[in-house]
């Protein structure tokens, strides 16, 4: 860990301004990912801006009947919130499938969206990584890739986004609310929030320099059955090999987002449209352009089988 300066932001605007004035600055919320990465010198901010004390820890009903979740709402608080459990069960289930109780107590809504990949080559600073050191090459390609991405990847990077929560947010059509250093706000649909790697895998989100997440807004409840199915080698405390976040209506239509397969929560309009036809049809759309490695080719079959089980579960419980 390199030496850094630290400030407690007085306001959202001030935090954004401070971040834009210092190109090496980072916001810190729960710190469950950032501090680990700083210890390994994968992240080397010279300045940390603490955004915990800005009143962004509230969950409110919006005028449209949706939910506005403050950026600093802890994962535990969000998962256990009564309205979330009742109307956005997918989100609650995805949250408790992630990390551990201790981590969820600390981790925040905004921080969860911004967590970085768990690709082991990203974590080992002796290995080249285009995400960690742009242009240095990807040592994961051709290496150990069982956990890595099968779709949306590029010649420069095959890492996945590790979040469970984000998969639920994607299926729920969440919108990321931000404030920019000039004080203007904007709303970024979750579909546009995470970037695919292309030839710049170090650019992971739509956020501009200094732009700060203030909230994540959910539209009014979509109804239907909410299922989050996380598939992993051990029963807890493991990142998903594959996860399915699905909202399925009584008539069999619905939406599906997939985790563990891509650099962002993976959702395809054509797959949603095909969902009523069953898992095979939906999966064909979801995985249409997949480029797996020999180690992770199984994920494609696993997505289809898991989705089939999820659909079956909705039929079992009318």
């Amino acid at each position: 860990m390199r030496a850094f300066t630290f400030e407690r932001a007085e306001s959202v605007r001030a935090a954004a301004e401070s971040a834009s004035n210092n190109p090496e600055a980072k916001f810190i919320a729960g710190g469950t990912n950032l501090l680990d990465l700083m210890k390994l010198e994968i992240e080397v901010p010279t300045h940390l801006i603490d955004v915990n004390g800005l009143g962004l820890d509230k969950i409110e009903v919006t005028s449209e009947g949706g939910l506005r979740i403050g950026a600093m709402v802890r994962n535990t608080d969000l998962a256990s919130h009564e309205t979330v459990r009742r109307d956005y069960g997918l989100l609650s289930r995805a949250l408790v499938a992630g990390a551990s109780g201790q981590l969820r107590n600390k981790a925040t809504t905004a921080g969860n969206l911004l967590q970085r990949t768990r690709c082991p080559y990203f974590y080992d600073t002796a290995q080249s990584c285009n995400k960690r050191m742009p242009g240095s090459g990807c040592s994961a390609i051709g290496g150990v890739t069982r956990q890595l991405g099968v779709i949306g990847t590029s010649e420069a990077c095959i890492a996945t986004h590790p979040s469970d929560m984000a998969v639920a947010m994607r299926a729920l059509d969440a919108v990321v609310e931000t404030t920019r250093p000039d004080g203007t706000n904007r709303s970024i649909p979750i579909s546009d929030f995470h970037h695919l790697p292309g030839d710049s895998p170090h650019i992971e989100t739509a956020l501009e320099k200094g732009e700060m997440i203030t909230a994540v807004t959910l539209p009014k409840p979509a109804g239907g059955m909410h299922i989050y199915r996380k598939v992993r080698d051990r029963a807890s405390y493991a990142f998903a090999l594959v996860s399915i976040g699905a909202i399925i209506q009584a008539d069999g239509t619905g939406r599906v987002a997939v985790g563990g397969v891509a650099p962002k929560p993976w959702r395809v309009d054509a797959a949603d449209a095909a969902l009523a036809k069953g898992a095979k049809a939906a999966c064909a759309e979801l995985m249409a352009d997949a480029r797996p490695t020999d180690d992770n080719r199984f994920k494609i079959a696993l997505v289809e089988r898991t989705l089939a089980a999820v659909i079956e579960e909705t039929r079992d419980k009318p």
Binding site: S139, D233, L302, A308, E312
Partner: protein, 734 residues
């Protein structure tokens, strides 16, 4: 004392303290955080410095030069010591890879520098500033291709790599029912909770080291060799160890670097190895490729059994002895085993809990299940039919005590084995349900073990031995032994362990620790009893020690009085005769497992586990049970998720942390039962006990794999049994 003849009745047989379910005497220290582990020793008057290591970023080659200028100028840095500075060192007798020193790089994350600073954070930050210029060498990292150049290793400790009895090839060719299958086990990590850590302090030419070691004398000896100093100048302490599993048997780089760093810094230095170093800097259990051939008659008698194993290690290393149990476990007139060793430039392979038997049984006990299926026999019945009471390679040699059949029979009854269905036929909800079982087998080893037992004027007993407690319960069973021998309650016994000033013990490893070290305390107590008797002028033939008193004929003297103001001391080392040659000494068991396999995803989840163990006298059923359930848990990880993933281009284990190397977590472990057979083995030791700490691991992973087969009808021969090896053969999801 030398144990040369089977034990007769002795004071241990009173079983007033030994054999009782007594809670750990160090339990309160541990649960309240007061048990000091290596890194935690702290004297407020000492200005400790902190060392942070740098590991090689290549797997093989040479260091041309190192630029430490920026690191030395970094805030708080006191000193930087590089492998080039200290030069090539003599290799410790038990080490294969160099720990620290010289320009040669033998494996990834080999220690090449230690940065010493006023704080841990400063040392860590500075370590990243060292620039290394390597001459990268060509390495061999893939066992599957390296086997073509594998060689017959030299015999180690009387163990020949090959064995042959009768005409295996002929008998196998002519067998009515045959199995010929190949199995693989991956590289595996000890993954203990406490990392390697040492504090080194010099006082002139004398060195004190607080560390985390299973074997005090081995470490002290090899540290002296590596540093090039007299062993007598080293005082080594390791009273508490946060897990070792064989990873802490042999001297490691933290102790070496701490010694050099403390010398350079001119003050005591603390060094803890970062978590990734546990994988690529230290040792691991090597991967194996095992071919097993079994031939049997139609009525299920084994006529031919062959087991070959290939593993790899650095030059000068050893094979993973995965065939050893096959020489002893089942009958059969025609037999062969063979081990071949390939050269690999991966980190050093070495002992991990039940070396040899654990990976050997992972393969053999699937093979036994497979041949039973081919025969249409129940696998429990098949094992009973092929039991042997003699060493099958040397039929004149008996087992000291062998009750494998009892374990199998009792286990099958208690577990409800009869409820097992045909493969792939039992479904509950979204899971296929299956039962599996396997035999457990682990040899019983003994090691010389010394102890000093003191009696003071209060009648208190103090045991001193360099024995270690790696979480196993050594403190408690040694106290029980001394209490039984001296006729005092547990509260009157204090135990001090893990200090090189104490008599050299067996240490902890190879499940030899409990039986050997309690026998050492037994021997020292015999000496102390003689000293008491002599002092009181008692005839030591009819003397009785009980209730804190010594009794002979009509005289009764409190121990405190017998001790006198100066106290009395008994010290001795238990030596072993040739009973382990004349008899085969082993421990036995049976594992039964129920699994559920997700119909859609192929995720395997355990539902129930039972181990039945026959391991001589159980010294303490609480600590013994903890050993067995811990081993069953480890076996679950090895069966279902643990695998060090090799980057075969760059030559290192990629998943070098506890997020990537997945040991079983609480949610993976279901209800576990352990049953100990009520038995003693007087040929093993005066304690009539045997090892049990590794038995619980042996066979359990195969029982899980066999249960997966029973659940799904899919036979996986490559560990770990992960869902990607199942889903392509599972039925389509509706």
């Amino acid at each position: 004392m030398k144990f040369e003849k089977p034990a007769t009745t002795n004071p241990i047989d009173n079983l007033t303290v030994v054999g009782k379910p007594i809670h750990r005497i160090d339990g309160e220290l541990k649960t309240t955080g007061r048990a000091k582990y290596a890194y935690e020793w702290h004297d407020p008057d000492i200005d400790y410095a902190y060392g942070y290591p740098l590991g090689s970023s290549i797997a093989k080659g040479r260091i041309r030069s190192m630029d430490t200028a920026a690191a030395k100028k970094s805030p708080g840095v006191i000193s930087v010591v590089t492998a080039l500075d200290v030069g090539k060192r003599d290799l410790g007798s038990k080490n294969t890879a160099n720990l620290f020193g010289g320009d040669e790089v033998q494996h990834y994350h080999q220690a090449i520098a230690i940065v010493v600073a006023a704080t841990f954070e400063q040392a860590r930050a500075a370590s990243a500033l060292i620039k290394v210029d390597y001459a990268v060498g060509e390495g061999v990292f893939d066992l599957s291709t390296a086997t073509k150049d594998a060689k017959k290793p030299k015999a180690e400790g009387g163990t020949e790599p090959d064995s042959s009895v009768g005409d295996f090839e002929g008998a196998f060719a002519n067998a009515a029912v045959k199995l010929d299958a190949t199995y693989t086990t991956p590289d595996q990590s000890h993954a203990m909770m406490e990392p390697f850590a040492s504090i080194a302090a010099w006082n002139g030419d004398e060195l004190t080291v607080w560390t985390s070691s299973q074997m005090i004398d081995w470490w002290r000896t090899d540290l002296a060799t590596t540093l090039g100093i007299d062993k007598e100048k080293i005082h080594l302490m390791s009273p508490f160890i946060g897990g070792g599993f064989g990873g802490k048997l042999f001297l490691r780089s933290d102790a070496v670097m701490a010694a050099f760093a403390a010398k350079a810094a001119g003050r005591p230095v603390k060094v803890a190895l970062p978590r990734p170093f546990l994988v690529n800097n230290a040792t691991h259990r090597p991967a194996t490729i095992q071919r097993i051939r079994i031939g049997a008659t139609r009525d299920g008698k084994i006529t031919a059994i062959g087991h070959e194993s290939w593993s790899g290690d650095l030059p000068g290393g050893q094979p993973e002895t995965a065939v050893m149990q096959t020489r002893l476990l089942y009958a059969g007139e025609n037999r062969m085993t063979a081990m071949r060793l390939a050269t690999l430039d991966l980190p050093e392979g070495n002992s991990m809990r039940a070396p040899g038997e654990a990976p050997g049984l992972m393969a053999l006990e699937i093979a036994i299940d497979e041949i039973a299926v081919k025969l249409g026999m129940d696998p429990v019945e098949f094992r009973i039919l092929n039991d042997t009471q003699v060493d099958p390679e040397k039929p004149g040699r008996n087992f000291s005590h062998r009750n494998l059949v009892g374990c199998l029979t009792l286990g099958a009854e208690k577990f409800g084995w009869n409820a097992r269905g045909k493969p792939g036929t039992k479904r509950e909800g979204g899971q296929f349900i299956g039962l599996g079982m396997a035999a457990a087998f682990r040899n019983n080893l003994v090691m010389p073990s010394g102890a000093r037992v003191k009696l003071d004027a209060r009648g208190d007993i103090t045991v001193e031995t360099d024995m270690t407690d790696i979480g196993t319960g050594s403190y408690t069973i040694l106290a029980q032994t001394a209490a039984e021998m001296m006729g005092v309650p547990m509260e009157k016994v204090g135990v001090h362990l893990g200090d090189s000033r104490f008599p050299v013990s067996s240490g902890s490893g190879g499940q030899f620790g409990a039986n050997s070290s309690t026998s050492g305390v037994y021997a020292a107590c015999v000496k102390l009893r003689e000293a008491v008797a002599q002092k009181l002028g008692f005839n030591s033939q009819d003397i009785e020690f009980a209730n804190g008193e010594v009794r002979s004929d009509n005289r009764v003297v409190p121990l405190s009085q017998a001790a006198g103001p100066e106290g009395l001391v008994g010290e001795d080392t238990m030596q072993w005769g040739d009973l382990e040659k004349t008899y085969q000494q082993s421990t036995f068991g049976a594992h039964f497992v129920e699994v559920g396999v997700d119909v859609a995803t192929g995720e395997v989840r355990l539902k129930r586990m039972l181990a039945v163990c026959a391991a001589g006298r159980i010294l303490n059923p609480i600590t013994a049970r903890s050993q067995v359930i811990g081993a069953m848990t480890m076996g679950a990880g090895l069966a279902l998720s643990e695998e060090l993933s090799v980057d075969k281009r760059r030559g290192f284990f990629v998943n070098h942390d506890l997020a990537g190397y997945e040991v079983a977590v609480h949610a993976d472990i279901p209800h576990q039962d352990v049953i100990f057979m009520d038995e003693t083995d007087p040929i093993s030791s005066p304690m009539k006990a045997k090892g049990v700490g590794e038995l619980g691991l042996c066979g359990v992973s195969a029982a899980i794999a066999n249960a997966v087969y029973n659940a799904t009808g899919i036979r996986v021969r490559d560990y770990p049994v992960t869902l990607d090896k199942l889903i392509h053969e599972l039925p389509e999801v509706a």
